[in-house]
């Protein structure tokens, strides 16, 4: 056997590309921030003695000392029981495993890596594993091997492939990543039982099975009690470990340390995932550095204080954001200098709920009105439409208020609960158009300015807005402001539902100066 002895380095991306090109799966490498946060240790491994290899491994995995040494011990000499690595997202499970597989002695003959998230069917999984294990066919004529789709054929083929690989007593490692996704597959339970019991089915001592899952082991107990692998738990990083990880590869560690001492703790209260923290901290650090001329300088106490005061308002905003995609406008503002930024941050800082008053996107006036009417149609009961949108514009509905007794108060409470549970209601197109017509007629005077003077049909202000309303509607549906449900079997027509929350609706209303709160029915 003149197979290369070095293991195939299978990372998330290369494992996907190694899979059968005929399979429908296109592996998508995971988003990169995490990769960049933990730069790969590019060590030459030949001729290193074991201890330094382990040290290199621990160096590459900050905060994972216990897990890495457990991995090395449990994986290392060939006959080994199956192993399950579990822990939350972004805790370095896959990375630790793949690095450990590089460092173990004796070297494994082959490592086959299957990320189940990128292999959407059993067939794709079987094809990927078999193509990684058996040498690629030399001639293209014989490459049309049949991919087994039945579990029995697969296990037979896998056993054949593995038996020839293990003939010399060398170890083969099979890694199943993202095991938790299989549970939601069609007939996932059967496949899961098959994967978890592969050790018993194959009966090859030189084959070591490793499972990686973000779900806890008790998620895999099936009815007839499947075999439990040995497990290693990867806890989320503690705050000091996160600091160590984020510190890696920074040109000015002193400056970054002072930044992290300010920014990390508050953000850490919100989320403990390294990838999210990394994404949130990156723009903040850029802000932090703004007042500094020289990025290489070591900050002293007074600069630190100045920088702290500078960053604090930004930090408060960042805490309340999940994604911060900079708008073109705000980027320009950054370039111009920070006079405008200060004003806007002050405003945002003032209102703690970060209700920035202006809309962050452009939308035509008629689309805004349509969105508002959809919002109203979803929130209000259909029976109240007549009362709210009568000739006086619904302003005098306080007349009908009765004295509320205890019983009716209770009933109202339960109704509020019900509304909270049910979410926005659905409505037919006719109701939407009717409300649209009403609210545009109310704000007619505001629209008179924008109306074309030479329009033939300037009898009513809404004609300009009523044009292309269906087109606008479909645009709103496509941009997910509204959702269109399947047609009701009784009425036949499609029903709509608005997906926007009240904050956004209020913002939209303010931008067209429409008195929205007057029309929302409050209990």
């Amino acid at each position: 056997m003149s197979q290369p002895v070095t293991p195939r380095r299978t990372t998330r991306s290369s494992a996907g590309s190694a899979s059968d090109p005929a399979s429908p799966s296109k592996s998508r490498p995971k988003s990169t921030p995490r990769r960049q946060l933990i730069p790969a240790a590019s060590k030459e491994e030949e001729g290193e003695d074991e201890r330094s290899a382990i040290n290199a491994l621990l160096e590459a995995l900050p905060g994972r000392r216990a897990q890495a040494s457990d991995l090395l011990r449990l994986l290392a000499p060939a006959p080994a029981l199956p192993l399950l690595l579990y822990g939350g997202a972004a805790t370095g499970k896959t990375r630790a495993l793949l690095l450990a597989l590089r460092h173990i002695r004796p070297r494994p003959r082959r490592v086959a890596y299957a990320a189940l998230r990128s292999l959407p069917s059993p067939r794709a999984l079987f094809a990927s594993l078999l193509s990684q294990l058996s040498p690629p066919p030399s001639s293209s004529a014989s490459s049309r091997q049949r991919v087994p789709d039945k579990p029995s054929d697969f296990v037979a083929a896998l056993r054949d492939a593995l038996a020839s690989l293990c003939a010399q007593g060398e170890a083969v490692y099979l890694v199943f990543d993202n095991l938790e996704v299989v549970r939601s597959w069609d007939k996932g339970g059967q496949l899961l039982a098959l994967i978890l019991r592969l050790h018993d089915l194959l009966r090859l001592p030189q084959v070591v099975l490793v499972y990686v899952s973000s779900a806890t082991p008790d998620a895999y107990y099936s009815m007839t009690g499947s075999v439990e692998p040995n497990h290693i738990y990867f806890p989320d990083y503690a705050v000091d470990e996160v600091r160590d990880i984020l510190m890696r590869g920074h040109s000015n560690p002193k400056l970054y340390t002072s930044f992290l001492s300010v920014a990390l703790k508050p953000l850490f209260r919100v989320t403990r995932r390294v990838d999210e923290l990394g994404a949130a901290l990156e723009p903040l650090f850029r802000r932090y550095c703004e007042p500094l001329g020289d990025l290489k300088a070591v900050p002293d106490e007074s600069t630190k204080r100045r920088l702290f005061e500078h960053i604090q308002p930004h930090l408060a905003v960042a805490l309340n954001e999940t994604f911060s995609v900079p708008m073109r406008a705000s980027v320009d503002q950054c370039k111009d200098g920070n006079s405008g930024v200060k004003a806007s941050t002050k405003r945002q800082f003032g209102s703690r709920d970060s209700l920035s008053t202006e809309l962050e996107f452009h939308m035509s006036v008629s689309a805004k009105y349509l969105l508002l009417s959809a919002f109203l149609a979803s929130r209000n009961l259909a029976t109240l439409d007549a009362a709210l949108f009568d000739s006086t514009g619904g302003s005098d509905n306080h007349k009908r208020k009765r004295k509320s007794s205890q019983a009716s108060m209770n009933m109202k409470d339960t109704m509020v609960e019900e509304m909270l549970m049910k979410g926005p209601g659905t409505f037919p197109l006719e109701r939407l158009l009717a409300i649209f017509q009403c609210i545009t007629s109310v704000s007619e005077d505001a629209l008179n300015d924008v109306e074309c003077p030479d329009s033939m049909m300037n009898g009513s202000g809404m004609t300009g807005l009523m044009s292309d309303v269906l087109l606008q509607l479909s645009t709103l549906c496509n941009s997910n402001f509204l959702s269109k449900s399947r047609s009701c079997p009784l009425e036949g027509a499609a029903r709509y539902r608005s997906n926007i929350d009240e904050d956004l609706a209020l913002k939209v209303a303010r931008s067209v100066s429409f008195p929205l709160s007057k029309y929302i029915y409050r209990r």
Binding site: P79, A80, L81, Q190, T224, V270, E321, T322
Partner: protein
């Protein structure tokens, strides 16, 4: 002690090899009388020598050595009657489909008897072939042993395979033994009437071993024999240290607490495998610490672990959900959780007031960790904020994790405690 490390790693490799070899693990059964091994061997051997049909079920929880016993019996029989038996192995996980099973039987029969197997043969052809082979083997006084692992899975559906196998065995000419292996104790109740009446109701029950048996097993697995190829001095040192550990009260305590949870052989094996893997390579011997460490790593509580991993905001959301449940609100969703969260934040004015998008991300993290889940599968097209959710942690677990969490704010603890005593 410079030479200790290679010897120790050699010893570790020997021990790991033993633990991963089911044949070695259960080989102690061979010498002791009146075990399931001797019963099964007697049963199969007598039906081979007396040329009769038989069927037996091996029942017991997973990891008690059913398959290992079958393997040992087969190995012995192959030695004793090299020409008189041929073995067909099926697994319910792979061959529960009837057509697939008959095809697999035909394939293995062809392999055993050096016949060429046609992949294109229809299921009827295969069935006919099997019956012919049964007759031929019967005439040649050759017993066919069918090993059906995961027997309960063969009992799904029409049970055509079981019926045709057992029905063929009713004839005088055939000579076959069906051994069913299942972890369902009620596996024979799953059979249809027509199948059950053709089945001889022999059952061998496997139970997890007692403490004494387990101790004997541990000694059998860990004590090194003199002929294992290691230096004699090392073996002596190693064994004497190990017997010291075995006689220690603490070790018995460890074994007891391990077996309280799960006394099956496979659990013991996992424990020993960990302990051997944690062997101290400096001294080169197994120590009490490695056993203690192995036990502690076996006794993790995944739910508690993931509760410890939560951020403060995620804990707030869990406490809000718990408060809602305590108010006996039958169902609630993200918007009602947010209402509760806001009322808490308004009442206590903490620094942990975040917008609902941030809270929703925390909510999604909780869903990812499977500490909460959606209450129903209906309403898939509904927005996630409005789908009813439920807690998957008990209030005791939540209370404990809040107590253990050092960064947990005092307000949160108070919020959680107050509703319990009010």
């Amino acid at each position: 002690m410079a030479a200790a490390a290679p010897v120790a790693s050699q010893a570790q490799a020997v021990l790991r090899g033993r633990l991963c070899d089911p044949g070695f693990v259960h080989s102690a059964l061979r010498s002791s009388p009146d075990t399931n091994y001797s019963k099964l061997k007697y049963l199969v051997a007598s039906s081979v020598s007396e040329a009769c049909n038989n069927s037996v079920l091996l029942l017991g929880p997973r990891g008690c050595g059913k398959a290992a016993v079958v393997d040992m019996v087969l190995e012995d029989l192959k030695k004793e009657h090299p020409d008189a038996i041929s073995v067909i192995r099926l697994n319910g996980m792979l061959h529960s489909d009837d057509n697939c099973a008959t095809k697999e039987i035909a394939r293995q029969l062809c392999l055993e008897h050096q016949l060429s197997f046609s992949k294109m043969a229809s299921s009827d052809d295969n069935t006919e072939f099997i019956i012919d082979m049964l007759r031929e083997c019967g005439l040649a006084h050759k017993t066919i042993l069918f090993i059906l692992e995961e027997f309960d899975l063969f009992a799904q559906g029409k049970q055509r395979l079981l019926y045709s196998l057992l029905d063929a065995m009713q004839s005088l000419t055939s000579q076959a033994v069906v051994i069913g292996v299942s972890c369902r104790l009620d596996a024979d109740q799953l059979l249809e009437k027509r199948v059950r009446s053709r089945f001889s109701h022999r059952k061998l029950l496997f139970v997890p071993s007692s403490l004494e048996d387990t101790q004997r097993l541990v000694e059998h697995l860990l004590i090194l024999a003199n002929d294992s190829g290691l230096p004699a001095k090392y073996i002596m040192d190693y064994n004497s240290r190990l017997t010291n550990i075995f006689s220690d009260k603490k070790f018995k305590g460890i074994l007891n607490s391990l077996m309280d949870a799960d006394a099956t052989t496979s659990n013991i094996l996992r424990f020993l495998f960990r302990a051997v893997s944690y062997m101290d390579m400096e001294s080169g011997f197994l120590s009490m610490e490695s056993f203690v460490k192995a036990l502690s790593s076996m006794q993790r509580q995944p739910k508690m672990d993931s509760l410890q991993d939560l951020s403060i905001l995620e804990l707030y959301i869990l406490v809000c959900m718990h408060r809602l449940e305590d108010k006996e609100q039958s169902s609630y969703n993200f918007t009602s959780i947010m209402k509760e969260y806001r009322s808490i934040q308004d009442a206590y004015k903490t620094s942990d007031k975040y917008t609902s998008t941030v809270c929703f991300r925390a909510f999604e993290h909780l869903l990812d960790r499977e500490l909460i889940s959606f209450g129903d599968n209906r309403g898939r097209n509904q927005a996630l904020e409005y789908r009813p959710v439920k807690l998957l942690v008990s209030s005791r677990e939540l209370a404990q994790s809040l107590k253990l969490n050092t960064t947990c704010p005092a307000v949160l603890q108070k919020l959680f405690d107050r509703e319990r005593y009010m």
